[in-house]
Amino acid sequence: MIHVARQGRWQGMGRLLLRATARDLRALVVPGPDVAAASGLELAAAGLRLAATPRHANLLLLVGELPGTLGDAALVLYAQMMRPRVCLLLGSAAPAALPISARAELSQTGLLEGVERLRECLSTQAYQKRVDTFSAPILSPSDSSQEENSDAAGDSGHHQMEHGDEGDGGMSFMSMVKVTKDLPRSPDGLPMDRIEVPFGPVFPGLPGGLSLTFTLDGDSVAQVKSETLRTTCLRTPQAGFLPDALLQAVCALDPLTPVSYRLLALRALTALGAPAQTPGAHGDVALLERERTVSHLGWLALLGRQIGFAWLQRRALRLQLACLRSEMADFPTLGKTLRRFDKQVRRNPLLRARLSGLGVIAPQAGLRGPVARACGLSTDARTGDPAYLDLAFEPRRGEGSDALQRLYLRLDELHQSVALVAAVLSRQRPVEHVSPAGRQPELSDGEAMASVETPRGEARLQLMSSGGRITAVEIDTPSRALLGQLPSLLRQQELGDALTCVCSLDLSPWDSAT
């Protein structure tokens, strides 16, 4: 059902246009194509093209569960899309105000099915004599959050430069100096009007869900504000979590790396006395390392989109899906392809020029994951894991601290991960996750702590239980600390460089959610 069709009736020539509208689907993905890819969706195979802004899109594709803030963003984005427009929901829930044209399950078949249905209804109902207008409470002008959530730049252009009330009337030639004397100065001493521009939560070059607001001084970044997603999935209910509910809640935390967080929750529960549900220590390694490969490739695809490197974007996405869909036993055979890919990436001279010297982060305590390892620290939760030590694991380290080193490190880790999985396979056939026991496991009272090296760095989970329920949950994730570094890292960077810096950190808006 197309709730917001375009007004008009079309015949003859119009029919052709109708068919074209149905064939030419430009998708705006919420939260983002990165989440879609991590969920195993191949948008191109469904004939979808990615739109850079809601203005160019006619299909709003909602993937998975949207936390409250993203739901509001989806409403704003939908309002900015041109009619005829449709909305496809893959997954469970969407904001009630959003007119959903079709829903399907979160899988490639679901996507194909949904797109087929959208095409059908677009080619028959895209134009109606009477159209309803779309409105939602968040869109009313009194609601100031609209601008913050909107992806399209809204109105941050010249009309913000209104300064009507200052010294009108007697404004003489030289009063310019007087007018500008209180304005903040750029480093070059020129007073300029600054504009606040939202980047995200749905922005082509940033991870889906990450919402930054840059105060731009010309085209350099003067200030950065970041806003994290607000999720409620880890809010402890009054009576506490049942173990299964906790497992689900932690898994849902980050759609980009569900396996790592599932392992994290399982480990913490096991420490509290629940029966082990993981496929054994080495099986964990295989699952984690495959996800690391998938995640790093997803990051490369995002980087490719951010820096306008179409080849990298497409190639990394294809490899990511191949890794995600491969059977564990076949996974190491991808190693050769990955090595060739790595060589091609490293050989590109412009890529080196583009990334070197950007986003320098000095080695310091508190850094985790690839960002820490790229600048020479050996911070890695895996070094404390007997299963990894058994496989003679040694963390890779880089020798610089810029975006280029982070790229190299992640490329290195791709091969390392494949090698680790191959080593595991040579010892045992890995089983996928053990299916959960039928009844709720018994938990002992007390406190337990577990940690997992996710693709973005170490995540720690602390649980407190009493009476078989979990009463307190404390999670410590890798992206949150990095998010705090953004303002100092981006200050006075050119806009494009600033976004590349952000991208090079591989922040996950999900695991930094509050």
């Binding site: 300064h163 310019m176 020129l190």
Partner: protein, 174 residues
Amino acid sequence: MQTFFIGFFGLAAIVFAVAVFRTSSMMRSALALLFSQTALGALFLALQAEFLGVLQIMMMATEMSIMAIFMVMFMMDPGGLGGMDMSHQKRLSMIAGLGAVMLVSAIAAYTRWQELASLSQAAAADEQIRHLGRELLGRSMLVFETAGITILTAMIATTAVAVKVPAENASHES
């Protein structure tokens, strides 16, 4: 035909020139000036001065765009939406404008157009370019080279003045 185009582009140049002062938007003002100059270039074309016309049309596009960014950067309210009065020194400009009009009219009135018209027909365009080349690299070479070097020097000097030496570097050097 030629007279029509001369008149048309001449009027266009004037209309755009008026538009420069009728708007408070810096961007519109700069672009109106650009199109006024472009119309002048087209006028040269209509006058069969092909090289001059094309050159004018080409140079003005970049120059006026660069002027536009400086106007937008340095002026308050570049969008012209704040209702700020942009005009100043009205009396002086009126006198200057009037003087210019009188001067131009005087030149037009005292030129012996008949004699000029009988003097020569415009050469073919490629012939003009050849003449121009010989002029630029012959008799007028010194003049043009001097002008060129002077402009280059001015550019370098301006850049040198504008670049602020960072404090730590300055202390190293001294």
